[in-house]
Point group: C2
Chain length 168, copies 2
DNA sequence: CTGGTTGCAAACAATTTGCAACCCA
DNA sequence: TGGGTTGCAAATTGTTTGCAACCAG
C-alpha cells in the first residue's frame, strides 16, 4: 500500500463507459441518457464531485438537477459510486471499480480544495482493536486528511476556509 | 492512549459553567442568557449534539433557533466547541476543554446512533508520513468509526441507515 | 407495450440574513 | 450609553416529492 500519488487503477479512463452501463443493466436498471452522461462525467473525473458540480458540468439540457439527485442515489445504492464527506457537509461522489468497495482516503488542501487520492487503507488492525474493545460488529470508518498543498504554501493566504467551493 | 470507554476529563461536569462564560468574556464576547443556556446544555451532554438537538432541548423561549446557529458559529470560532461530522451531513458540536484542541474520535452505532467517545488519537505518525510524501503542511484529519453496538446486535434489524435521527 | 425514468414545479428542510428592539459591559 | 446580541420574519440554498409525459427493454 502506498500512501501517496494518484491511485493505479481508479479514476480517469479506468472505467470504460460500456462497463459502467453494463453494471446498470445487471442491476435491473435502465441505461438512459442522463445516466450515461453522469457516468461519463464521473468516469473522466479524477476526484469526487458534488452533485452540484456534476450538474454544472453537464451540457445544458442533458439532465435535470432533480435527476442528478435521483441518479446519484441509485448509483450509490448499487455500489457504482461511493460518497465521501470532506467535513463541509457536502457529499462528494466517486466511481467505484467493478468488484471493489472503493474504500480509500483523501488529502484535501484547505486553501484551494485540491484533492490527492491516497491509495489503500492503513487502519485495518486499529479498526479491529476498537471493535473488539467496544463489542461492536461490522465496523468501518471514514478518514480524510487536510492541510496546505505545496502550491498554496508559496501563496499569500487567501480566505483560509474548510474545503468548499474552489472547484465549482 | 486508550481506545475505548468514556474519556476521563471531557464531557459532563468536567466544565463548570463559570469557566465557560469566562472564556467568552476573555474573547470579548458577551455572556448572554441564550449563550449560557446553550453552554450549560453542552456541558451536561456526554456526546456531540446537532444544532437542532440543542434547540429542542432548550426550554421554550430560552433561545431562538437562529441564535443557536449564530452561537454555535461564535463558539466554534472561539474554539470553545468543536464540530464533528458523522457522515450524514449534519454537524455535531461538543465542548472543548480549556487549553486543549479537543481532537478525538467517535464510534457510532449505525442502528441506534449511540456514540462512544474514543480517547486520544493514534494517527500522529501516519499523518506525518502522508504530509511529507505529498509536500503538505499544517496537516490534520477527521476520523470516525461506525458499526453495530452490542445492544443492537441482539435486536432484530430495524431500518439500518447511516447515523441520523435516533436521538432527536 | 409498460414500468422504470425524467422534467418541471411545488413542497420541504436547513441555514443565513436584515432589522429594530434589547441588554451586557 | 453603545455596540454586540437577539427575536422574528423573510430570503437563500439544498434536497425531496408528485405527477404526467417518455422511452429503454
Amino acid at each position: 500500500m502506498s500512501t501517496h500519488g494518484h491511485p493505479a487503477g481508479r479514476a480517469a479512463s479506468g472505467h470504460p463507459l460500456a462497463e459502467l452501463t453494463a453494471r446498470l443493466r445487471r442491476g435491473e436498471r435502465k441505461v438512459t441518457g442522463p445516466r450515461q452522461a453522469i457516468l461519463d462525467l464521473l468516469r473522466r473525473s479524477q476526484h469526487p464531485l458534488t452533485r452540484k458540480q456534476v450538474f454544472a458540468r453537464l451540457r445544458a439540457g442533458d439532465c435535470d438537477l432533480a435527476t442528478v439527485y435521483r441518479s446519484m442515489q441509485v448509483l450509490e445504492e448499487m455500489g457504482i459510486v461511493k460518497r465521501y464527506d470532506f467535513g463541509d457537509g457536502v457529499g462528494r461522489f466517486e466511481l467505484v471499480a467493478e468488484g471493489e468497495d472503493g474504500h480509500h482516503h483523501h488529502l484535501i488542501c484547505t486553501r484551494c480544495s485540491q484533492v490527492v487520492e491516497l491509495d489503500g487503507c492503513f487502519l485495518a488492525d486499529l479498526e479491529g482493536r476498537i471493535a473488539e474493545r467496544n463489542g461492536f460488529r461490522d465496523i468501518s470508518h471514514r478518514l480524510e486528511f487536510f492541510g496546505i498543498c505545496p502550491t498554496c504554501q508559496t501563496t499569500v493566504a487567501p480566505a483560509a476556509r474548510p474545503p468548499a467551493s474552489a472547484g465549482d
